[in-house]
């Protein structure tokens, strides 16, 4: 398999997962803000914080408001991580893979380009349409991931797709948790209050994890929520689950041969397996997440290097 093709499959999958995750946060935050009402301006900022692109946002829009955050995250074609841009990017990658993809799958991904309709881009429609749009993006992306499961043979292509998907999801889940830190930090007085509970709940909701959480842990409790989101090895959006799944696909791609990315990924999994929610809080949530993201970025570039032979290392080239 060409390195470019592997890369394109991973990015196609990452862009789709990224769009779906952004839709998840947007949907849940919108709901949350409806309930919070007063001081709601403050509640839009964390949504931009998640993306890690606060600087770009401030330069273009100034203070975050409901409208400009919605525009930034859903429609902005000049912002490469907006839902619209991610879906277009996934589509562009799919075009380059057309000859190796079942027609049905190609058509589904090709159709993502029309998911955010021209007509919905008018400001006056934002509030009436945003929830429906988010739901649609989330469902369509899950459908494509489902198609992969249903019709693609378990070869390298499949596992590069999964690798991209799980790495992206681990990253986004960690960012989501990070945002909770931004909520908590400046408003220490909210700790243990109903606002605090609602924020943790929103976090669980955006991962579709509320029911699983209540079943396992009962009432909202900070350490338990962190455990659910970071360390639960059975919940498909937890960071540990994602990293373990990524490691599995990586090993299947290289047919058991272990390289640098395998080693680092498996070391990170082991480290997480040894922790509890309380341990993470003790280290400091902020510090823990910053380290985790550093590790994951590192693994990312190791994967790229591993599958992209560097021509400058050749003899005589």
């Amino acid at each position: 398999m060409l390195s470019r093709v592997a890369d394109q499959i991973m990015w196609m999958s990452r862009y789709i997962e990224r769009a779906a995750n952004t839709a998840r946060y947007l949907e849940v935050s919108y709901h949350l803000n409806l309930d919070l009402q007063q001081g709601s301006q403050e509640q839009w900022r964390p949504l931009v914080e998640i993306t890690g692109d606060m600087e770009i946002f401030t330069k273009r829009y100034g203070e975050p408001t409901a409208e400009n955050v919605m525009h930034f995250l859903m429609f902005d074609t000049k912002y490469i991580n907006s839902i619209q841009s991610c879906l277009s990017a996934a589509r562009e990658n799919a075009k380059g893979l057309r000859e190796s993809m079942p027609a049905e799958l190609f058509e589904a991904i090709n159709g993502l380009g029309k998911l955010v309709p021209e007509a919905s881009r008018k400001k006056e429609f934002y509030h009436s349409q945003i929830l429906e749009l988010c739901g649609k993006v989330k469902r369509e992306c899950m459908m494509i991931s489902g198609m992969f499961s249903e019709i693609i043979e378990r070869g390298r292509g499949y596992h590069f797709w999964r690798l991209g998907e799980f790495i992206e999801r681990a990253d986004k889940t960690s960012r989501l948790l990070h945002v909770k830190y931004f909520y908590i930090h400046p408003q220490i007085t909210d700790l243990g209050t109903s606002i605090d509970d609602m924020q943790w709940l929103a976090l669980l909701l955006s991962l579709d994890a509320r029911e699983a959480y209540h079943r396992t842990h009962g009432l909202i409790d900070r350490d338990n929520v962190i455990h659910m989101i970071v360390l639960n090895p059975t919940f498909p959006r937890s960071i540990l689950f994602c990293l373990q799944s990524a490691l599995q696909s990586l090993s299947l791609i290289t047919k058991g041969v272990q390289g640098e990315p395998h080693n680092e990924l498996s070391a990170l999994c082991e480290q997480l397996e040894s922790l509890s929610g309380a341990d993470i809080v003790e280290t400091g949530l902020n510090e823990f997440i910053e380290n985790l993201q550093l590790e994951m970025n590192n693994i990312n570039s190791r994967i790229f290097t591993y599958f992209n032979p560097d021509p400058s290392l050749l003899n005589g080239a």
Partner: protein, 487 residues
């Protein structure tokens, strides 16, 4: 649905004679179409067009982004050629390509044909496609023109003429294969009874030819199709051919030269490539040798090619013979290299660099077609009968200023074939592009080829960007008479 009232309009019609009778090779089809219920043919046509869309048979339109993909119009009435009429055309094409290939090899080596005074030296030095970088190159098997798409037209008597030889990277063959799939669905019975020569094995023939012309000593060559990428207008065809041939589809950025071989970057490391069917123009192949700003090829490719570690199909430099002035000398090349008379005629061509020809051209501008020698795609040409006196005056000035760059030809009454228009049939002008695979000692000619049809009424322009469409082309071996007597 019938052909009553269909007019051949004084042109040579591919399906009907000038009395309005279906030609023997087309009788089965005409009968089948006439027995269809009203509206059925149109429904089939629409179903075929939908099938093309869903199969993704599209071409990109340059210069726009979203919604850039269009299907090429497809007409459901096939063009039919009698096998006995086709055989001499096939022989003529083989002969022509053999001679052209020898000519290109000669030009890049000793230039005997010039020393012997058969063609003038200015001819190739002024040809835009001549590449001094290809001097003394020895492509495997001595083959330069692996694949050619020669454009043929028929005049009012039905005689085939060669209009031009597309020797660089001819496109369109995917439409031949796909039109055929659609037509087999639409007329399975007629198809079966007519004994239509198959085109389905073209990708296999192609792959076999590439294997045969792989670098010396390579038994199972690794073959790749090189595409400029998803934004190229023919990208669909590139993916289609790669899939059909069982070759991998690569882009320039996938390739790297390791000091000896051209390799693909794969997830398992570098993988040597032996044969590249490239759909990238000569000047973009190797930034070290040609255009330095090209990212569509790979640095070192020409070195690997020159040293015999890589086959490039077509070889760079074939454009020297893909020039309208050089074209005029192809019959002389056939006589010179093969000692044979040409089996397929050229369209009579006047070289304006010759005094008499220039005078004749200037006197008859209203009757002739005048073309620049080194342009393609119909740019900068004058179609005399369709021009105004003012246009002709302006053109005459250009012509006098640079006669070397122009040729003139009589305006041909191109043959026509019926196409479905709303609920009836009308005649439209067609041309034909057969594809020839040359492997040195022998050639394979795709039976029939791509029929392009000018769907606009009275238009002579078959180009897809100007309202041209395609038809399936059937070369048939059984006439209904034979069929009936053998039953």
């Amino acid at each position: 649905m019938n052909f009553k009232g269909y007019e051949t309009g004084g042109y040579f019609d591919e399906l009907f004679d000038n009395q309005g009778e279906a030609r023997p090779c087309a009788r089965l089809l005409v009968k089948a179409i006439e027995s269809l219920p009203q509206g059925d043919l149109r429904r089939r046509q629409e179903a075929s067009e939908r099938a093309m869309l869903s199969m993704g048979i599209t071409f990109n339109v340059y210069g726009s982004n979203e919604g850039t993909e269009r299907t090429i119009p497809f007409d459901i009435v096939p063009r039919i050629i009698d096998g006995q009429e086709w055989d001499p055309v096939e022989a003529g094409l083989k002969q022509r390509i053999k001679a052209i290939n020898l000519f290109i090899d000669d030009i890049y080596h000793k230039r005997e044909i010039i020393k012997d005074g058969v063609i003038p030296e200015w001819l190739f030095t002024s040809s835009k496609g001549y590449l001094p970088q290809c001097q003394d190159l020895n492509p495997p098997g001595g083959v330069w023109t692996h694949v050619t798409g020669t454009d043929l037209v028929r005049d009012e008597k039905g005689t085939f003429f060669v209009l031009e030889d597309n020797l660089r990277v001819p496109s369109g063959v995917s439409y031949v294969l796909l039109d055929r799939i659609l037509m087999k669905r639409n007329f399975p019975e007629v198809f079966h009874k007519s004994g239509v020569r198959r085109v389905v094995d073209y990708p296999i023939q192609f792959m076999k030819m590439l294997h045969k012309l792989a670098p010396e000593g390579i038994e199972k060559p690794n073959v790749a199709v090189l595409t400029p990428g998803v934004y190229n207008s023919a990208y669909f065809e590139h993916t289609f051919l790669a899939r059909q041939m069982g070759a991998q589809l690569v882009e320039g950025r996938d390739l790297v030269y390791d000091g000896k071989y051209v390799c693909a970057r794969t997830v398992d490391g570098l993988e040597r490539i032996d044969v590249i069917y490239r759909r990238v123009d000569d000047e973009f192949l190797d930034p070290e040798v040609f255009r330095a700003d090209s990212t569509l090829g790979c640095k070192g490719m020409m070195k690997a090619f020159r040293e015999g570690h890589l086959t490039l199909a077509n070889a760079p430099g074939t454009g020297v013979a893909d020039d309208k002035v050089v074209y005029a000398f192809v019959p002389d090349m056939i006589r010179y290299y093969l000692g044979e008379e040409p089996l397929l005629p050229n369209v009579p061509t006047h070289l304006c660099i010759e005094k008499e020809a220039l005078a004749y051209t200037l006197d008859n501008l209203d009757k002739l077609v005048v073309k620049p020698a080194s342009e393609s795609g119909g740019y900068g040409m004058l179609i005399g009968p369709a021009s105004s006196p003012k246009e002709r005056d302006a053109f005459a000035k250009v012509l006098r200023a640079n006669p070397r760059n122009y040729i003139s030809q009589p305006t041909l009454a191109l043959s026509r074939a019926p196409v479905l228009v709303d609920d009836h049939f009308e005649g439209r002008h067609v041309d034909l592009r057969p594809y020839i695979l040359h492997s040195g000692d022998d050639s394979y000619v795709l039976p029939g080829g791509l029929t392009r049809v000018a769907l606009k009424k009275d238009s002579l322009v078959v180009n897809s960007s100007q309202g041209g469409g395609t038809k399936d082309t059937w070369v048939v071996d059984r006439s209904p008479e034979v069929e009936e007597s053998s039953c």
